[in-house]
């Protein structure tokens, strides 16, 4: 191993910090899903089916999100229609 390799290696992120970063993202994502009510995936699918009757869209173009505030919940439906 040359001296250049030594310096190059230092620049790279350590594998442990990479692991931590990836875990923080996936765990946060999975926790937010966990708090969703059980009916949400089925509801999302049915909303998709209704929209598909009129417009041809992909699954990724519909984002359903439920935010719980103190005394009310907000259901946010975000649909990107094709041009």
């Amino acid at each position: 191993m040359s001296i250049f390799n030594y310096f190059l290696k230092k620049e790279k992120k350590s594998s442990a910090s990479l692991a931590k970063e990836r875990l923080q993202i996936i765990v946060a994502h999975e926790r937010s899903k966990r708090q969703q009510p059980d009916y949400l995936p089925l509801m999302q699918k049915e909303i998709m089916d209704v929209i598909r009757k009129y417009v041809n869209i992909d699954e990724e173009q519909v984002v359903v999100q439920l935010d719980n505030n103190e005394d009310c919940s907000v259901l946010e439906l975000n649909i990107t229609l094709p041009e």
Partner: protein, 269 residues
């Protein structure tokens, strides 16, 4: 009133059975009458780790199906007084356990024992959910590795939503036990540190068990590793038992052990 503690992890092979055997033995060593139950129906292994595999006559499923009494199925540990093992069935499948059956067995054990340790199967299916459902406390066994940490978070979610305590509006007291920890690899930033895992899971730390040759040696011999008090792993489990009993014990074996000059010269470990 007996305290029911589940040893769980989501992921397989992280050290649930090793931990169940060690913690149960440690509690009995401290004078508490303890029973350890194998919930892994179809894949029983606690009997091997405890070294009582040739003394199994009746099992957990036999008791649930009323084919045997609890006293017939309980195996008295030969090394540690006050310690009993309830083995899992090897021939049935995981559906052989019923919620009512498990509840009845636990209620009967609670009359005689101070601690009931439930060794959970891997996964998040029925068997694992059954093992944690009646728990007062949970020891979440985690390796400093991405898939294990993620699965632990998953099982923590189940503890917080699908346990009896959660359904009644309470909480299962959670403890994090980090196993197979390698301080050398943490020092060279190749392995998640204790602080990293604590940060991600946000569960109070019960203990850190260093990666140790003593664990394999103990399972070869069928003696819980906590009995090997020369080993770091054995000592770390003793500390964890003390903390479980509410004592304030400093964490050990987190730093790289400095090798002496002679040892380094001779390449010793």
């Amino acid at each position: 009133m007996a305290k029911i503690i589940v040893v769980t992890s989501g992921k397989g092979g992280v050290g649930k059975t090793t931990t169940s055997a060690a913690i149960a033995t440690g509690l009995a060593m401290r004078g508490f009458k303890t029973v350890v139950i194998d919930f892994d129906v179809g894949l029983r292994n606690l009997d091997l780790i405890m070294g009582c595999e040739r003394r199994v006559v009746y099992d957990f499923v036999n008791v649930i199906k009323k084919e045997a009494t609890l006293n017939q199925a309980l195996i008295k540990d030969k090394r540690t007084p006050g310690l009993f093992i309830l083995p899992a069935s090897q021939t049935r499948d995981k559906d052989a356990l019923s919620m009512e059956g498990v509840q009845t067995v636990l209620e009967n054990l609670a009359k005689d024992f101070e601690y009931i340790i439930c060794d959970s199967p891997a996964g998040i299916e029925q068997g694992a959910q059954m093992a944690l459902y009646f728990a007062d406390e949970a020891i979440v066994v985690t390796n400093p590795e991405v898939s294990s940490v993620r699965d632990s978070d998953r099982i923590i979610g189940i503890l917080q939503s699908k346990s009896l305590k959660a359904e009644q509006g309470g909480t299962v007291k959670e403890h994090l036990l980090l196993t197979r920890y390698n301080p050398e690899r943490v020092a060279s930033a190749e392995m998640l540190s204790v602080a990293d895992v604590e940060d991600i899971l946000a569960v109070p730390l019960l203990g850190v068990i260093p990666e140790s040759e003593a664990v394999l040696k103990a399972s070869n011999q069928g003696a819980p590793v906590i009995l090997d008090q020369e080993s770091e792993a054995g000592q770390a489990y003793l500390d964890a038992v003390s903390r479980l009993l509410g004592e304030d014990v400093k964490h050990r074996f987190l730093e790289v052990q400095k090798k002496g000059f002679l040892k380094r010269l001779l390449g010793g470990k």
